[in-house]
């Protein structure tokens, strides 16, 4: 059995932990929370210099050609650090989408994403806050020209390019397109969300040139596959965040005295922390399942991604909620960092469709597997 990260992958983790604790401590997330910046551009630049954006990109397109397991390691550590950078949008979503393109789009954009020359994002939502293809009807592409609007695009005000879901005007099929966001006819309006450490914007497209990602127009399986693949990477971010919140709660409980002794000695608190640990372990094991399926492109990917995603969302919710609870009143203040995890946990839980969507999908996949 070899169901763990390798020694080399753990070395990468050590490098990531060292870099992020030095250059992206929570004070950086707080700077974005309290200030006017949209993201920590200096941290982003160093991440590019470290080559993380090129991790899973093939060497033929300017990447390092590592597998996705290395990307999972980076994702977990970024999640732990709450680094306010557009990594997830640009790497898990835009790069993943472009890497799967079967035409010139891939050759044009992949090297630029890999070397960090451009920041990418993915625009999905229109009227519904879930990535439900049936509720994506506003954006249409006719003769290579995109019209319509997208809402709640993570890093939408930062990104240089976006992958967009839109209807092909001829067939009515939902397809993936790539759009240069510096093009004329693109309007962006920044919006506020529960987590101000991450940028969000609404995008409006008026006669903007759009290139299809798939060579066969009308293939809507691309979106589902993109969601499944990126869900594994987001699950690792959630796992890292959940474990960080657990550790923060543990540290506080050990140092906080009430009734003459550390509150970590009271069973009400001990059992709460033990349950958080259980949730994190279940999430970790299921994330590894997702990582294996992602790295090997296994047929189990849809089930594995959903399992990892649900477990990680649950663990982050429990740990971020109970971290505040264990801190008591101080945990509810702006000054303490507990709310940074609480905000991020909820943002990440819904950014690709919420927990109930993924549970529904998980059971649907199992039904399909068992019927086959």
């Amino acid at each position: 059995m070899n169901f763990e990260f390798s020694a080399e992958q753990n070395l990468l983790r050590e490098q990531a932990v060292g870099f992020l604790s030095d250059r992206a401590p929570l004070s950086v997330a707080r700077r974005i929370l309290d200030g006017d910046e949209t993201y920590a551009s200096e941290v982003w630049q160093e991440i590019i210099n470290l080559g993380w954006t090129a991790t899973a990109v093939p060497e033929s397109h300017g990447g390092f050609g590592f597998g996705h397991l290395e990307l999972c390691v980076v994702a977990e550590e970024l999640g732990r650090s709450l680094a306010p950078v557009p990594f997830s949008s640009s790497v898990y979503l835009a790069t993943e989408a472009i890497a799967s393109a079967a035409n010139d789009v891939r050759d044009d954009w992949l090297p630029k994403l890999a070397c960090g020359e451009v920041i990418g994002c993915v625009a999905l939502y229109e009227v519904s806050g879930a990535p439900d293809p049936d509720r994506m009807n506003d954006c249409t592409v006719s003769d290579g020209v995109l019209n319509g609007g997208k809402r709640w695009v993570t890093d939408g005000a930062i990104a240089d390019m976006s992958v967009v879901t839109a209807r092909d005007a001829d067939t009515g099929n939902l397809c993936l397109y790539v759009v240069d966001l510096s093009a004329e006819g693109v309007q962006r309006s920044t919006i506020d969300t529960i987590d101000p450490t991450r940028n969000h914007a609404d995008l409006q497209f008026d006669n903007v040139s759009a290139m299809p990602l798939a060579s066969e127009i009308g293939d809507s399986t691309g979106l589902r596959r993109l969601l499944d693949r990126s869900a594994v990477l987001f699950a690792f971010e959630q796992l890292g965040g959940a474990e960080a919140a657990l550790n923060m709660a543990r540290e506080y409980a050990l140092g906080r005295y009430a009734f003459g002794r550390p509150i970590a000695g009271y069973q009400a608190i001990k059992h709460k922390l033990a349950k958080m640990y259980v949730a994190v372990q279940l999430a970790r094991s299921n994330c590894y399942y997702g990582a294996w399926a992602l790295a090997t492109d296994a047929p189990e990917l849809p089930v594995a991604a959903a399992t990892a995603r649900v477990s990680a969302s649950q663990a982050y919710r429990e740990c971020s909620e109970e971290n505040i609870q264990i801190h008591g009143g101080m945990g509810f203040t702006w000054e303490f960092d507990c709310h940074l995890y609480y905000r991020r946990a909820k943002l990440l839980s819904v950014n690709l469709g919420g927990e109930y969507d993924w549970k529904h999908r998980l059971i649907s996949c199992i039904e399909a597997d068992q019927a086959a």
């Binding site: 059995m1 070899n2 169901f3 763990e4 990260f5 390798s6 397991l69 543990r250 409980a253 050990l254 002794r261 550390p262 970590a264 000695g265 069973q267 608190i269 001990k270 059992h271 922390l273 033990a274 349950k275 640990y277 259980v278 372990q281 279940l282 999430a283 970790r284 094991s285 299921n286 590894y288 399942y289 990582a291 294996w292 790295a295 090997t296 959903a306 399992t307 649900v310 477990s311 649950q314 109930y356 993924w358 549970k359 529904h360 998980l362 059971i363 199992i366 039904e367 068992q370």
Partner: protein, 400 residues
């Protein structure tokens, strides 16, 4: 990262698979008439072919296999429905304690017969007033010449009625703090003065016993560890208990609930169409898979020659409650059909529902498991213990 064996493990697994395929089917199935005889026959077959107690030294009936190999065989063995229960305590808990504390003659006398299944052992630890607080046990041992004389009562003893030998913790000195006054023995379960009474559980079954001691004599040569050092010896046994109790999901698992929800009508359509039902099913799937892959992580540590991390301590805690929840859910789906006797039998769901509370208590209750995770894994302080440092006979006692 993959689920593959190393080359050596793959070879070993093939050998195990092929031996089991040839031999296991003959011992499978329902042995309600004589479960013990069936279990002994299967154990003997394994022993004769060199597949018993794999990680034990050869001289005691094992084959010096690595922990990873032992786990591989155990996993392959669970693919068959085989009678193995009666030996779990003897081989899993008594034997490691004997290996650590018994004399060479005693090891040579008892361990091979544990491996061959010839002799069955039980564990005499819990008492009516000492469950989670095991060290509060009161069964008295008094030295008398070359013997010790035992008086008192044990409870929750699995298999006491068919066991040949037992491991026993007693209080030899009530005037010192509770952990310091204990002494550990093994004894013949047919000793005069020893009486076994079955306990009727809420399921109606009797898997456990009460064991009464009235002037039972044990030779001092059967003491394990020094007089007064019984707690240290008991910890050896208990560490192996934690290792022996895995995350077995039993017959009530995700698939049980999934199948029933697919077949059972709710508001004119299969229950599984309901989003609430789906959400519930997904929770159990994630827990079950999480435990399965946690096991894979531990197996990986064994494969790499490392000690598995503490993550395995979550297994029993998660699995026991999940079993109870699934049994309860299935009954709710079935309504009265789920609770009523049918042909003088309860449904499997109802049987599991009545059995499940025991799993949440046995071998460390949910609350004790949470304490263990909190203290040993997360390094949180122990609870305040008002009996700490107090002579045992001055500690306040509540219920008998």
């Amino acid at each position: 990262m993959d689920f593959n064996d190393t080359k050596e493990e793959a070879t070993f697994r093939e050998q195990a698979k092929s031996w089991l395929a040839e031999n296991a089917p003959a011992y499978q199935g329902d042995h309600t008439d004589d479960f013990l005889a069936a279990a002994k026959a299967w154990q003997k077959a394994k022993y004769d072919a060199g597949w018993a107690c794999l990680s034990w030294p050869k001289e005691w009936g094992g084959r010096d296999a690595t922990p990873a190999e032992a786990k591989i065989f155990a996993d392959e063995e669970t693919e068959y429905d085989l009678p193995v229960g009666p030996f779990l305590i003897g081989q899993g808990m008594a034997a490691p304690t004997m290996m650590a504390y018994a004399s060479e003659e005693q090891k040579a006398r008892f361990l091979p017969k544990l491996a061959s299944g010839e002799e069955v052992w039980c564990q005499l630890f819990s008492e009516p007033a000492g469950g989670s607080d095991l060290a509060a046990l009161r069964t008295r041992s008094v030295r008398d010449g070359d013997d010790w004389v035992i008086n008192g009562q044990k409870i929750w003893t699995s298999g006491a009625h068919y066991s040949d030998f037992g491991i026993l913790v007693t209080r030899s000195d009530p005037t010192v703090p509770k952990h310091m006054g204990l002494t550990y023995f093994f004894l013949d379960m047919r000793s005069p003065g020893l009486e076994v009474k079955p306990i009727k559980q809420i399921s109606g079954q009797s898997n456990f016993n009460e064991v009464y001691f009235t002037d039972v004599r044990i030779p001092d040569s059967q003491r394990l560890g020094a007089e007064g050092d019984g707690w240290r010896v008991a910890l050896t046994t208990l560490m192996n208990e934690r290792a022996a109790i895995g995350g077995a999901s039993g017959e009530m698992n995700f698939q049980t609930a999934f199948n029933l929800a697919s077949e059972t009508d709710l508001d004119g359509q299969p229950a599984i169409v309901d989003r609430g039902v789906r959400s519930q099913l997904a929770d159990w799937y994630c827990k079950e898979k999480g435990l399965e892959f946690t096991g894979a992580r531990s197996q990986t540590a064994l494969s790499r020659g490392e000690v598995p991390g503490p993550e395995n301590s979550i297994g029993k805690l998660v699995a026991a409650k999940k079993t109870q929840d699934i049994a309860s859910f299935c009954i709710e789906l079935l309504g009265m059909t789920g609770v009523a006797l049918d042909h003088e039998q309860l449904s499997a769901y109802a049987e599991a529902y009545l059995g499940a509370p025991g799993s949440r208590i046995a071998g460390g209750s949910d609350e004790i498991m949470l304490n263990i995770i909190a203290e040993r894994v997360l390094g949180l302080p122990q609870d305040i213990r008002v009996d700490k440092g107090v002579p045992f006979n001055e500690v306040p006692m509540g219920a008998k």
